[in-house]
Amino acid sequence: MNAVWPHLPILQVVIPLFGAVLAGFLRRPGPAFAVALVVSWLMPLIAGAMLWQALATGPISYHIGSWPPPWGIEYRVDVLGGFVLVLVSTVGAVIMPFARRSVAFEVEEAQQPWFYCMYLLCLTGLLGIVATGDAFNAFVFLEVSSLSTYVLVALGRDRRALLAAFQYLIMGTIGATFYIIGVGLLYLLTGTLNMVDMAARLGPEWAGHSRAIVAALAFITVGVSLKLALFPLHAWLPNAYAYAPSWVTAFLAATATKVAIYVLVRFFFSIFGIAIDFRDLPVAEIILALSVAAMFVASLIAVFQTDLKRMLAYSSVAQIGYITLGIGLANQAGLTGGLVHVVNHALMKAALFLAVGAIFFRVRSVQLSDLAGIGRKMPITMTAFTIACLGLVGTPGTSGFISKWYLATGAFDKGWWLLVFLIVGSSLIALVYVGRVLEVVWLREPSAALENASDPPLSMLLPLVVLAAATVYFGFETQWTAGIAGTAAKDLIGGLR
């Protein structure tokens, strides 16, 4: 154990990478799935150990090849990083058992090993982005995760999945390019790619906002915002989510956008926030305005969707708005609310998309018109779905309420009454789009097409139930969500100029 302990940061990334290669070589769905399952279940243990260490003794710094930073690549896991690592790896571990049946149903057999290979690569990329302390290394992992995601989306049965993947590829590449241009500008200014070093070199003497810094800030913000689907840069998301295989949608919704949010927070608070005074630039105002627009516009679009997956995709855009709202508020309560919503939204959206996957598994459709009365045919699935829906609305007793409470308190602390009302007002629109579905699902008579529908097998049901239960559990017990998010927020805000 002692031999492994210091190498956790690199193991977090290398194990899924080798797993991906192994899954690719195995060439058969069953063994490939087994590899993916073992790796997915191992990851939360490593991430949990690192978070525990970061909480107890401060950030972990790992020097690759023992080259000291800033010359070598440093992996750095602080409370925020550990928090996101635990989230990503836990979601992967919880939903993995669902994949076997769902993927066997939706992806051609010859492609299934590649599916697990691509999933593990994507996991490598996502965990790598968070674990690394190097801005360029983060770019590499960003591309690893993005490229594998394009493949995963394209594996969807519907032919439109190809177009969706292509659309995502174009937008994602633009985003990555913007990001790397921003990093390049920072490298020109500081001569370093190590994030901590970068922040130190930028220091107070750069407070006069050299244009290069502002340009770097702009490029990175836009690039990362594309990846996290900040309104109005979200155009790729609804199609990608709607046409990807069900399980992929659940995984991406819970992890990919959340990791992009991590990158944004990292650059805002740990690099630019230290170098320049944000209060002199309209960054927060722009983020806040776009967040509020996301909350309302995307929610309103969701109201008019007839495809369940697409509706939930637009709901994701709206919910990401809550998270970026917390980033824009940038005070203790607000940022805690944003960060805690990263977890809360990930868990409930994963539950919702898994439920949709289960519906597709039984009914072969996720069109609202085909789902009348399905609540009586798949009671456990739809109860879990309903609970997660209540979380989206933010009813008390669900984790969504905790997020909203912190965000609204953050807005109130700033004296922004109007924003408080906007936050609670947008949840009313969520009530409308969610209520529309629940009405059809529970109150209509089941149609003949649903004659043989029933709850899915246990391997699919269990992850769904666990995630729905988590939505309620984290509505009451918040030590591991809001508690850690609060600590992370305190560290981040404490570093600001």
């Binding site: 007793g397 912190y406 408080v420 009313l428 209509r444």
Partner: protein, 491 residues
Amino acid sequence: MTAALSTQSLVILAVLTPFVGALLIPLFHRSPNLRETVTLVTAGTLCLVTFSLVGPVLDGARPELQILRIVPGLDLAFKVEPLGMLFALVAASLWVVNSVYSIGYMRANDEPRQTTFYVCFAIALGSTIGIAFAGNLFTLFLFYEALTLSTYPLVTHKRNAEAVRAGRIYLLLLLGTSLLLLLPAMIATWAIAGTLDFTPGGILAGKAGAPVIAVLLALYVFGIGKAAVMPLHFWLPAAMVAPTPVSALLHAVAVVKAGVFTVVKVAVFVFGVDNLASLGQSAWLTAVAATTVIVASIVALRQDNLKRRLAYSTISQLSYVVLGVAILAPISLTGAAMHIAAHAFSKITLFFAAGSIYTGAHLTEVSQLDGIGRRMPWTMAAFTIGALGMIGIPPTAGFLGKWFILTGAMQTANWLAVSVIVASTLLNAGYFLPIVFRAFFREPPGDGHGTKSGEAPWPMVLALTTTAAGSMLMFFLPGIPYALATLMMGR
């Protein structure tokens, strides 16, 4: 020490009993008799537990317990004080009667999905007890929303287009007002006062100026949509599509009383009555409550559907309680608390009667009720007693609440309130007495329904005579409700 411990465990038991019942009921899905036994046993247990708390509370005990701290400011905690005790008492005792009635009604009308019905009913009652015993605003809010959500399946029980539409109005208005107005008010209260615990004298006393208090009061009064203050009352007539036992216990007692109870609770324990009086921010509230009382009564006059007429009467009667709060005299608050109990017994009787008429004679409109009293003498006698309670005539408990509110209005020289109470009494008489007159003094129509056999099934008749007797009993022996209502101000 042991006594304090046991009252605390009684509080927990009271809140948990209905939820445990809700878990057990589906297990007996296949044998309706056992399932109904579970409901009755649960209701009986709850009633016993609540009654055993009355003694200690009257002796001055205020059992408190903190379950868990969710985040700073949001505690799940219970504290039993006299007003909550009174509300819980009313809800728990009427649940027993209502369960008997429900069994008769649901079986006689051959209603579908009865298991769901009883499960949701139990959850709704558990939420009501949670509201009554809530120790702080957040706990109250949590159960308040749970009450809305658990009653939604009951409102949409029929699952036809009308029920679905009514369900939409119900959910949007109740959840909408609470999320849009009540939640921000709660956040502001937490930010200003630094606590959400219900405290005698008010947690906002001396913490905020008149304009802020005025805004917050408006947010609370309109945010508590269950109080059905106009113009946010539409959900209540819409909810009448539900089966009558739901209208009777939930939309005449538990849900609506949870609304006005919350208004009283917020006025007394969040704002503080003296604080509100010294800031002089209640004139508009008097006006709003007065308008609701009068306008709802006038609308009730024009309703031919019996349940809708009762619903508008409820809207009007609920605002008596709000009026009692707006007058801000201690005696009018006592009256408000009394009225919560008195109106509950009278109105449930009226709804029971309406359901009985529907089950026994398949009639729903007032204009069809000629001569019904000859056919259903028990039902219509109980209806008459309920109607007297609405008007506020002795020997019904309705008189007491009205009397105290009126006294408070006179003490504070609030002539608007006085004239509203007098005028609405006349209006109440105007829309209830004609029904009684029709039932007993008009000839039954010749279409034959008068000749069919008499009353509804016996459990329903038993239930409605019990509540009618209860409302008279409360007039002659008002001891417990009166004592609780006077103790509520913390004196």
